[in-house]
Symmetry: C2
Subunit: 310 residues, 2 copies
């Protein structure tokens, strides 16, 4: 079963989750209140992701890199809401071929990396698997929303917004960059600081610029119209075109829509460039939620690009 379908099944069952849940399943994080009786706005973001050997990393990947990717992916989900990570939990289901010292090294690395992102591991669970099963890691990260802007959702893009992307995209998996990327949480907070309520919607690019832009379009019931020639391509993409790169996954850059009034910073902390790549338009029923326009003016349905973890 495709993951996108299963995740939709969870989201479909997640109406009326009670006064605690400000944003339920379907966005990068859930956004929650402090307690069931609290009238406060959302004060906790929470996200969980799995990392599976043979799917998200090859069996020969150094354990340090596995640990980095496991933590950084969930930090990226907090970044996608403009939040700040505060604590984390990790689980590991480990194959019996893994030695004691390997298991120790893996969790030592996860611990150190989580601390480096200021979201220390506060708990976890370990279990062993039967022979032949792949390693399965999960990382849960909690974050605090931006203190004034609050959580930035996928569902709040507005017709007329400009579409922006941070950094550059393409070739992440083949180049190995997917193991070493830096999540954009500091940049996301700086963006919310600078733009406030003019920052309308945001997502991190995990499954490809095209598909993830389409998720904003779906959730907001609009169409993101992206100009292929404006997409900033990573040197790792080595001569592949923007449509191919928009189908690559694992970039972990931010894609966001905002008022097109010149208030968007051109650069974010760490020298991260921001590039305007398109515009938010009205969407007709059953039309694509994101189209990418090529050099000849042809519109490509972005949902046909990218990948679904099979």
């Amino acid at each position: 079963m495709l993951e996108s379908r299963l995740l939709r099944l969870i989201a479909d069952r997640s109406k009326n989750l009670g006064p605690l849940v400000v944003v339920g399943p379907g966005d990068d994080c859930a956004a929650l209140r402090a307690g069931p009786d609290s009238a406060l706005p959302a004060n906790l973001l929470i996200t969980v992701d799995q990392l599976i050997q043979g799917r998200h990393f090859t069996p020969d990947t150094p354990l340090n890199a596995v640990a980095h990717k496991a933590i950084a992916r969930s930090v990226s989900d907090i970044a996608a809401m403009a939040g700040t990570p505060v604590w984390s939990l990790a689980t590991g289901a480990l194959p019996p071929s893994m030695t004691d010292s390997d298991a120790d090294a893996l969790f030592h690395a996860m611990h150190a990396i989580a601390r480096s992102f200021d979201c220390p591991l506060v708990g976890g669970d370990l279990a062993s698997l039967p022979a032949g099963a792949p390693m399965v890691l999960t990382v849960t990260i909690a974050g605090t929303p931006h203190p004034t802007r609050g959580p930035v959702l996928r569902s709040t893009a507005i017709v007329g917004d400009a579409v922006f992307v941070t950094g550059s995209i393409g070739g992440s998996f083949t180049s190995g960059r997917h193991l070493t990327f830096e999540p954009m949480h500091l940049q996301a907070v700086a963006l919310a600081d600078a733009m406030g309520s003019r920052l309308h919607s945001m997502i991190d690019i995990s499954d490809g610029l095209g598909r993830d832009a389409g998720r904003i379009g779906e959730a907001s019931e609009v169409c993101l119209r992206i100009v292929a020639s404006e997409i900033p391509l990573h040197p790792d993409a080595a001569g592949r075109g923007p449509l191919a790169c928009a189908g690559d996954g694992e970039d972990y850059q931010l894609l966001f829509t905002a008022l097109d009034d010149g208030s968007c910073p051109a650069e974010l902390p760490g020298g991260v460039r921001v590039t305007k790549i398109g515009r938010v338009e009205r969407r007709e029923k059953s039309a694509p939620a994101c189209v990418i326009i090529d050099d000849k003016g042809r519109a490509h349905d972005a949902s046909a690009l990218g990948w679904d973890h099979a």
Copy 2:
């Protein structure tokens, strides 16, 4: 590697986790403050557990029962701190032999069961595994501490306390009761209501009464001296003695220590009995953290009983 050893590795690295972390790894839950700048006492309990096909349930277990056990085990960890569950997250790494409708039924059941415990699923992740790998589920549950008593830890038993257990123990796995048990969270809250600060320490019995009592003893640097003939045995235990039953796991009853002043209720909500089974004594260095005294007055080291998920 034994899980108990790996979990200790995590705990050993978990000193000085910052102002956010009131109780770090090593207890049933972590206890956290609302945010890094908060001077409030702990207002969030958090726990995560894994459930692995072939280890925690047999491959022919009905999916409803798998879902129940997955959620109820983590609720039991919240109960062990006298907390109230408020929300949950679930992940599934699913074998390819699982059909779409099975995956759907499993998550439908987890969703309904989490709701029945008032801790709705607010997010999750699903991924597929290669052929032959067992299903791996994780459930994270957050809870609120008892409003006046706060989190009840393992590390706060006091010499002179009486040792109590709820319900009865033994034969849970072989009878199948481990798939249908009701976690004791309502009873734990009622106990904290009734006893307040006279309730000193608590744990839920997952790995066997003997081993889990030993965990309180270790964490509190005391010895729990338990009288075998006082241990209430479950009818499922069918003629097996108290020492054998104290080595069974998966009871999910509460074991707690409290002032021995007659203030402990004899019965908790739902008709759950409370039985006094021993006393907290001083522990000499390198002596056992829990001993069980048999009919002939012999002391058995409880750490030699029970099971460690290998």
